[in-house]
Amino acid sequence: MSIATGEEAKPKLVPLPGTVGGVLLTGRTPASRLRPRHRILFASFVICVLLPAFLSAVYYVAFASDRYVAGAGFAIRSTEATGTDMIGAITGLSTAHSTTSDAYILLKYLGSRDIVERLSQDFPLQEHYSSEEADWLMRLDEGSSIENLVNYWNRRIHANYNSASGIVTFEVEAFDPVAAERLASLVLAYCRDMVNHLSGEARRDAVAFSAAEVERAEGRLKTVLEAIRQFRETEQSLDPAGSARIRLELVGGLERQLADLRARISALQASLDKDAPSLRSLTRQAEALEQQIARERAGMTAHTADAAGSATLSNQLAVYETLEVERSFAQQYYASALSSLETARINADRHQRYLAVYSAPVVPEQAAYPRRVLNILLLAAGLTLVWAIGALIGYAVRDHLR
């Protein structure tokens, strides 16, 4: 408005070159010379602002079909750390990072091709959006590709995530109230499935590693026990350490007997004749004992194998002790693997996430879109602005006539 008045104030400064001769200039008033320019201005205003605004008003009032909205709000909660976190309680900062990323995953999922494809199976999505209920501007082309459907779906669903409260809200538009509610309920159900799926996946992942560890430990323990069993079978000895002890005791007993004999022999040698029969028999006994002791010793340590084909006792003992050590390691390993599996399972249970729905979809009574008055006014305002800037630039160019 102000522009026009500003221009009117100085009409004499801006004659159009070569428009009209001096005839008009002398004959008519300056006002009539202004006309063509103002007519252009007015025409441009009509074409750029009034006409589109009028057309949009006609469309919104007469044609635009109502769009009903149904939505839901929920938070993704984790079973852990609900109010127990001291720092979180004091600072008011949310600590659940895992649920934050879950919320972003859900936001992406809401606009994804997956959800559109799944919706199409449970609801005649394409048919509804391209039905007669929708006006021609908002309608989805019949038989459009999945990509177009996904694009269209993204304009019909509005999702939002509040990072401070951790609340996800979404709204679905449809051309009748029942369909809106149905769509929103389906979408909510899919969201729940998605969260359960994510949670289950995470749980499986967390436990799977520990379970594999337990399996490995079990295998190792089994191999060791099998090796011990085989050793016992081939060596015919349940406990080589025990039999070694027994053998040592045996040798010890024999040596004690030998020492006794020798003591008696030396006692008898003082009183009896060297060839006395009792002395001779004692000496033979002592010799026999010595041989026996030597044999026993050899059986324990010598490298020769006896008739049964089994190794000597010291060898047996060496193998057996290695196996024993291996078994005790394997047992410890198995026990710790079991306990870590248990911890992992408990942790995973604690990290389990679920959907806490605080507002479920309901059948809307009133259409939320289109916002007719607001849209018409916004369009008119925007067009006026663009037109005014255009006019100002036009005038700036025109100033060069001065």
Partner: protein, 265 residues
């Protein structure tokens, strides 16, 4: 007959405007760095260097990018937009007084020097953006933009915004000489509140509530949404950005026309 003459005269006018604008742009490129060998190249080298320096500093200060894999790219998408707006706002402010001598020639109007500067700066920053993005891509620190059209739209919107701010600045300076000192103070915080080095979506809603009134933030968000394949801004409101820019341009142009008779020229 008459309409033919009118359209002829408009064509002649448009041609005249083009010539004036073109010669003013040329003069501007010569005058700014007249004595230097590299000439106007400095206008590209200086901002590129300052952006690179800031990026390096932030790379060492922040270490991991708020979004994506490249901090340099994240920072570049923000700082280029911000610098474009700030440069337009600041240099349009002094355009009129810098060219006061030229305004003595009748064919040259205030709007001409303003438009010429605006066009020159926008073109310069187009080159700067090309150099920086191209450099990042060549160095393997960025991938080409996912939606080039969005990046360009954001660039256009930011150009409009900066032009609007610059026009208003010029008019305010014309009326009130102290504005020269006040404008930079008012635009300084933009570096911190425009999301140059953070993702607005990750901030608490109480802060977003205030930040979303900053149009530069929207220009940056728009750029990022265009550049990154997976960037979805919940703050971004393109309508707000465009409306604000257009309103500012309109106010600036209207003020230019209204202040003209009050001794502006």
């Amino acid at each position: 007959m008459r309409s033919a003459t009118i359209s002829d005269s408009w064509r002649a006018l448009a041609a005249l405007q083009m010539r004036v604008a073109a010669s003013l742009i040329l003069r501007e490129t010569r005058a700014t760095f007249g004595t230097s060998h590299l000439g106007y190249l400095w206008a590209i080298i200086t901002p590129v260097a300052s952006i690179v320096l800031l990026t390096v500093i932030f790379t060492y200060a922040a270490r991991h990018p708020p979004f994506g894999t490249s901090l340099a790219l994240f920072f570049a998408t923000g700082i280029i937009m911000l610098q474009l707006v700030l440069r337009l706002a600041e240099s349009l402010m002094t355009a009129v007084e810098a060219n006061r001598a030229l305004l003595a020639y009748p064919p040259i109007k205030r709007t001409d020097v303003l438009f010429a500067r605006a066009i020159l700066i926008v073109l310069t920053y187009l080159v700067i953006a090309g150099v920086i993005y191209g450099g990042l891509i060549a160095l393997g620190m960025a991938t080409p933009p996912a939606h080039l059209e969005d990046v360009l739209f954001a660039f256009v919107a930011a150009s409009l915004l900066g032009t609007g701010m610059g026009l208003i600045n010029a008019m305010l300076l014309n009326r009130w000489d102290s504005w020269r000192r006040i404008a930079p103070i008012l635009t300084k915080p933009l570096f911190f509140i425009s999301g140059v080095f953070f993702v607005p979506d990750y901030l608490p809603p109480q802060i977003i509530e205030w930040l979303q009134w900053n149009p530069v933030l929207h220009a940056i968000e728009w750029t990022r949404e265009g550049y990154y394949p997976g960037y979805e801004s919940q703050v971004l409101d393109k309508t707000f950005l465009l409306l604000t820019s257009l309103i500012l341009v309109f106010i600036g142009l209207a003020a230019e026309r209204l202040t003209r008779r009050n001794g502006g020229l």
